[in-house]
């Protein structure tokens, strides 16, 4: 079941679209699920499908197409490092290596305490700030150096 909060958010989203085209809200609906639960299970996809009156399979297509949706449990804070061309040229590999040592996990993994998850991502469209990563798909951190990463991690650790 989708929580009351998610349902409320989806209902608000639905007002943006014609009544007979509820499926337009699918991406937002999946985002709300992920914001609340940290990831999207197939049960959640099924619930979203029922809520929006669309085929389960169609929801799954969307959820698996976009890499920002987590299809398995991730950390409370999930760091997504862009490893596309511009970032790689500017040192994304070092960013990933440093994060791996600091967090003690590999790409696609979660720390034992569930605090941090690490993912590889696609171009965020902010190449001028390369190399960069996002925090929970919400906060963009660019022009990364080891020091800056340590600073961000310390900050995140406190919160």
């Amino acid at each position: 079941m989708l929580s009351a909060h998610i349902q409320e958010q989806i209902n608000r989203e639905l007002k943006k679209y014609p009544v007979d085209q509820k499926q337009s809200a699918v991406m937002s609906a999946l985002r709300f699920v992920q914001d609340e639960k940290g990831w999207i299970s197939t049960d959640d996809m099924s619930d979203v499908a029922d809520f929006l009156g669309m085929a389960k399979m169609a929801v799954m297509e969307v959820a698996t197409f976009y890499h920002m949706y987590n299809l398995k449990p991730m950390g409370k804070t999930t760091i997504t490092v862009c490893t596309n061309l511009s970032c790689t040229l500017c040192g994304a590999e070092e960013t990933v290596a440093h994060l791996k040592t600091r967090l003690g996990i590999g790409l696609g993994e979660v720390t034992a305490d569930g605090k941090f998850g690490l993912r590889e991502g696609e171009c965020m469209g902010a190449c001028k700030d390369a190399p960069l990563f996002t925090i929970n798909n919400k906060r963009l951190c660019g022009r990364l150096s080891k020091e800056k990463i340590d600073q961000i991690l310390a900050e995140l650790d406190k919160s």
């Binding site: 085929a55 399979m57 169609a58 799954m60 297509e61 698996t64 197409f65």
Partner: protein
């Protein structure tokens, strides 16, 4: 019209059509995979790239609108280079092991690679592997690595079947076709995905590795199942039907067939086939030759006619029998002086007999369904009873038509339904009367006196308003409405509703030859010798029964009554392709050929007579039923039984008929009598005939038997009713009808009307029960 030039040929293309359409019109072939004329344009395979003058890059023909003055080249250097390039990309991940692929020899990718691809592969790296998925008993995905992501199967589900069961998850190199979390593909049209798949990724599970395409001979035939009469090609190897695929006929089945049409052939090769005539001697079955078996039958019939009178002989036949068989059956019966012949085995109301203008039919051409803009569908398990007619209505609805439903169950039709009135069976007539009255008010027409007093509900008003707003209205009666105890009155009201909207009224024919059986005279009121109808023959048991393809416990309206009549009879002659329960009560079993082994004719629900030839030789000693009946006619000295061929029978029975005159739904002389009886104690039975239990052949199709649709039926009850009984979904309950009872699992279904209980008919699990309509009680087991 747009003038466009393709490879130097001038063509007139329709406004809004694509380069692909124009090329088709010009007779120019453009290679393609994802394009399919019945599906939406996806333009993802890129195989149809062509050069268009003044366009800087090659364009996909399937998605490029034809424009005035356009010059297209499909064989220019640019086009050939594009095709070669696409082909090379498609083959990067496609296994190059055609010799071991089930699709080899009939593969679009293989053909196009031959025509447009390079001779060898430059790709030496690893190919991707896609794990097979379990998606049910009909479609195999074992070779999913062969998929080229054309998404035809996905679009078929969304657009034609009405349910998206397959989808493409992930993207780029990781993209793959699968169902939602290993769920099975349950659509009753799913087999078409096998035909649509241009490669060997989706293959037929029952057919896999039984033959190579070049070993098969293809013989045209006609589906013996539902009333549509889909055109089939039976693929034969070693005198055995090993596969069935559609033959395109835009006016009937388009390019589709239902899974029932496609996979029922397994029943043709069932181990239950009856291979030799058998006679029961001193309680034991012995195999005999044809001559003594037929002598036995003739003597028996002669004796009973002599002692008890010919009216004690009765014949029942399924409407899945051919025109020729039914014609000879009734001719034989009437020849020996009995008019007791009927094919309407599941019907219970015969009050329209002789009062109808002609054979009950669709009232329009099948293709006209697509043009209707308002439907009223009365009493039909539409999707399961008529999978492809449902598909046509779905397309019409997609094009803007609106469908309304009056029924006793609310199964998902996989299309938007404008209005519905779901009522118990005994309220159905009243509901239609309400619609008629509301419609009369809407149209400012006179209200028939019989229904003037009824009160109109909101649902009826909504339906009436909806129908009144249509230009092309179609009112269609389903199997349930035809089996209803007030079928004649329901039909009369439905006809009046259609008449008020200047629309058409028709019956969705239950079986492949429902119309043909009527035309053949296999009804008690046709011809000089009149007799009893199917219900009377059982209510007043006869001494001898001739059963043509009938399994009384599954095919009759009241199996309980049918079985006691069979057990009490002096002689039961069973003409069947199968050994079945008849072993218990019959005296003679005559092995007759199923549709694939005989020539014959089916007249479909729109009155289209389609003849076919036998695709294979009859199995062992089985013989076409028309030949068996011919010999019986000769043995019983009935005149006019000297036919050399089934065509001669057809010529005699059908030639004199101008079909248009013989089809007629108009009923006159039936009185409308709407009683508002209070709901008595007990629940009213609502019974469907499950899709894979509807006839003898499909009951023995092994793979279809493993599908969800063939599961042992549950009792369905409204949630509040279940609460009253104190049962929950999954509990076993005792369902009683009269003095008969069976135990079944109960399932909650809140879309059923209060006071109704849904118990399927036509299934062994419920065969001990009585009539398809009536009062039942349910208690905890």
């Amino acid at each position: 019209m747009i003038n466009i030039e393709i490879d130097g040929k001038l063509v007139e293309a329709e406004q809004g059509s694509t380069v692909m359409d124009a090329a088709h019109k010009a007779g120019v072939y453009i290679p393609h995979f994802c394009y399919h004329k019945k599906l939406s344009i996806s333009a993802n395979c890129r195989m149809c790239l062509v050069e268009v003058e003044k366009a800087p890059k090659p364009l996909p023909a399937c998605a490029t609108p034809a424009a005035e003055g356009m010059k297209v080249h499909t064989h220019s250097e640019m086009a050939v280079k594009a095709q070669k390039g696409v082909m090379e990309f498609l083959l990067i991940n496609h296994p190059l092991d055609c010799p071991i692929c089930d699709q080899g020899g009939e593969c679009e990718l293989q053909d196009i690679a031959m025509g447009y691809g390079g001779g060898e592969s430059r790709y030496a790296e690893e190919k991707r592997v896609v794990n097979p998925k379990q998606i049910g008993e009909l479609i195999s995905t074992n070779e999913m690595s062969r998929c080229i992501q054309c998404t035809r199967c996905v679009r078929f589900g969304q657009e034609i079947a009405g349910i998206m069961e397959l989808g493409m998850v992930n993207r780029t190199e990781h993209a793959q076709i699968m169902s939602f979390v290993n769920s099975s593909v349950d659509s009753e049209l799913s087999g078409n995905m096998i035909d649509l798949c241009p490669v060997g990724a989706l293959t037929s599970k029952p057919f896999r590795y039984t033959a190579r395409s070049w070993e098969l001979s293809r013989r045209k035939s006609v589906s013996p199942h539902d009333g549509l009469g889909s055109n089939l090609a039976l693929h034969v190897k070693d005198n055995k039907v090993v596969r069935v695929v559609p033959v395109e006929n835009e006016a009937v089945n388009e390019c589709w067939i239902s899974d029932k049409d496609r996979f029922s052939y397994e029943g043709l090769n069932s181990p239950e086939r009856l291979t030799r005539p058998m006679i029961k001697q001193d309680g034991k079955w012995v195999e005999v030759d044809w001559a003594p078996a037929l002598e036995y039958v003739a003597n028996g019939l002669r004796q009973i006619a002599g002692s008890a009178g010919a009216e004690h002989i009765a014949a029942l036949a399924t409407p899945h029998s051919t025109f020729e068989e039914l014609y000879l059956l009734q001719k034989l019966l009437r020849g020996i002086g009995s008019g007791n012949v009927d094919y309407r085995l599941r019907q219970s109301d015969f009050s329209a007999d002789g009062k109808q203008a002609g054979a009950p039919w669709l009232g329009m051409a099948v293709a006209d369904i697509n043009a209707a803009d308002r439907f009223l569908i009365v009493g039909s398990f539409l999707r399961k009873d008529h999978p492809l007619l449902a598909q046509r209505i779905r397309q019409a609805v997609k094009g803007g038509a609106q469908a309304s439903i009056v029924h006793a169950a609310d199964d998902d039709l996989l299309m938007p339904v404008a209005n519905k009135s779901i009522v118990t069976p005994d309220e159905m007539l009243n509901t239609l009367a309400q619609v008629l009255k509301a419609l009369a008010a809407e149209k400012q027409a006179a209200v028939p006196a019989e229904i003037a007093a009824i009160t109109i509900g909101d649902a009826a008003i909504a339906i009436a308003k909806n129908l009144a707003s249509g230009q092309q209205v179609a009112v269609l009666l389903g199997n349930f409405a035809q089996q209803h105890p007030q079928a004649a009155q329901i039909a009369l009201l439905a006809e009046q509703i259609a008449a008020l909207c200047a629309g058409r009224f028709g019956y969705l024919g239950e079986a492949a030859n429902s119309v043909g059986a009527y035309l053949a005279g296999a009804v008690p009121f046709a011809g000089d010798v009149q007799g009893m109808n199917a219900a009377q023959m059982l209510a007043e048991p006869r001494k001898a029964y001739l059963l043509l393809n009938v399994e009384p416990e599954l095919d009759m309206h009241n199996p309980q009554q049918a079985m006691s009549a069979m057990r009490a009879a002096d002689m039961v002659v069973v003409m069947s392709a199968y050994k079945h329960h008849a072993m218990d009560y019959a005296d003679v079993l005559l092995p007759v050929a199923p549709f694939s082994e005989t020539s014959g004719t089916f007249v479909n629900t729109e009155g289209r007579a389609q003849s076919f030839k036998g695709a294979v030789k009859p199995l062992a000693e089985a013989r076409p039923a028309w030949k068996v009946l011919r010999v019986l006619g000769n043995l019983l000295d009935v005149s006019g039984f000297d036919y050399d061929t089934s065509e001669a029978v057809r010529a005699e029975g059908l030639h004199a008929l101008s079909l248009d005159d013989k089809l007629g739904n108009r009923i006159s002389g039936v009185a409308i009598n709407i009683t508002t009886e209070g709901n008595g104690a007990g629940l009213q039975r609502v019974s469907d005939v499950p899709i894979y239990s509807a006839d003898a052949l499909v009951r023995r199709a092994a793979s279809l038997r493993k599908t969800h649709d063939a599961a042992v039926p549950c009792v369905m009850l409204h949630g509040s009713q279940m609460q009253k009984l104190g049962v929950e979904s999954g509990d076993t309950v005792k369902v009683s009808q009269g003095d008969a009872s069976v135990q079944l699992t109960v399932q909650k279904n809140d879309s059923l009307p209060q006071g109704a209980v849904r118990v399927a008919a036509g299934h062994p699990a419920t065969a001990a029960l009585g009539a398809m309509f009536g009062i039942m009680s349910v208690e905890r087991a």
